[in-house]
Amino acid sequence: MDRAQMDLLLEIMEVSFVIDETSLYLDTHPNDEKALRLHNNASQRYFELKNMYQARYGPLTNRDMSRYPWAYIDGPWPWEINFTNF
């Protein structure tokens, strides 16, 4: 995995974590409009980044489209990525 791919993946992980937090908070505060706005913005950004990543590096889930051959299986898998250089 080169630098550019890792940077984009880390950005997806960051936005994805924002969504983890906003969604848990909204589960118990469904009427908090400000939090919902934060969630919706992060969600939009997540799908933009995910589409960008997948067009370049292949599917992040097995529901996504792939170029030929099926690139979902391509490594490194998450537990194999060396995050020490960021």
């Binding site: 993946l9 880390l10 997806i12 992980m13 994805s16 974590f17 983890d20 937090e21 969604s23 848990l24 908070y25 589960d27 118990t28 505060h29 469904p30 599917p59 992040l60 889930t61 097995n62 529901r63 979902y72 898998w77 998450p78 537990w79 990525i81 995050f83 020490t84 960021f86």
Partner: protein, 190 residues
């Protein structure tokens, strides 16, 4: 249903091969208050949770716990993947190694296999939510002991992240408990 996304929740970093630390961190892979127990506990309690807020929290926190379980497995793997047999011999990881090699396995640091008796599901939301809140605090305490024994900055960074998640989950379960209690009180007629 669930989908797998090819990423970790947080970038798991390990700086040095350390089989002893791996053997301790496995506590959160298959120990009583570990991530597997957490995930199975919350996802099991969903069917009898009465409020929608509670159903959502059990689903979403239970799902996040499985992502934490993956992070713990990754820590264990990265701590041992480059270890030579000589580096493993004489460490607490040796007993694990003779059965499982370098594969993570859901048992505690003391080697007890994971069991469903670590979790509860009582068809009683008050009992279940109190158990869940206690479980989050016990997991937080375990992370604090692990942070004390970790001498690897990368591992400590991941353990700190996971410790903070326990605090957030405790808060959310507390909110669900209040919502459920309000709901129960509303239904009482005098």
């Amino acid at each position: 249903m669930w989908f797998y996304e090819k990423k970790l929740q947080y970038p798991v970093r390990v700086d040095t091969t350390n089989p002893t630390l791996a053997a301790m961190i496995i506590e959160q892979f298959g120990g009583a208050d570990g991530e597997l127990s957490a995930g199975v506990r919350y996802l099991t309690q969903r069917w009898t949770m009465p409020t929608n807020q509670g159903k959502a929290i059990l689903t979403d926190i239970g799902t996040e716990e499985l992502a934490h379980w993956e992070m713990i497995g990754t820590l264990v793997w990265k701590l041992v993947k480059d270890a030579t047999v000589d580096q493993i011999k004489g460490t607490p990881f040796e007993a694990h190694y003779v059965n499982h090699g370098k594969s993570p396995f859901p048992h505690s640091a003391a080697g007890e296999a994971w069991t469903a008796s670590y979790i509860g599901s009582k068809d009683d939301p008050i009992a279940d939510l109190h158990e869940d809140m206690a479980a989050e605090e016990k997991a937080r305490a375990t992370y604090e002991w692990l942070i004390r024994v970790s001498d690897d900055p990368g591992v400590t960074d991941t353990l700190r992240f996971l410790r903070e998640r326990e605090i957030v989950h405790f808060q959310r379960f507390g909110e669900v408990l209040m919502i459920v209690q309000d709901e129960i009180n509303k239904k009482k007629c005098y």
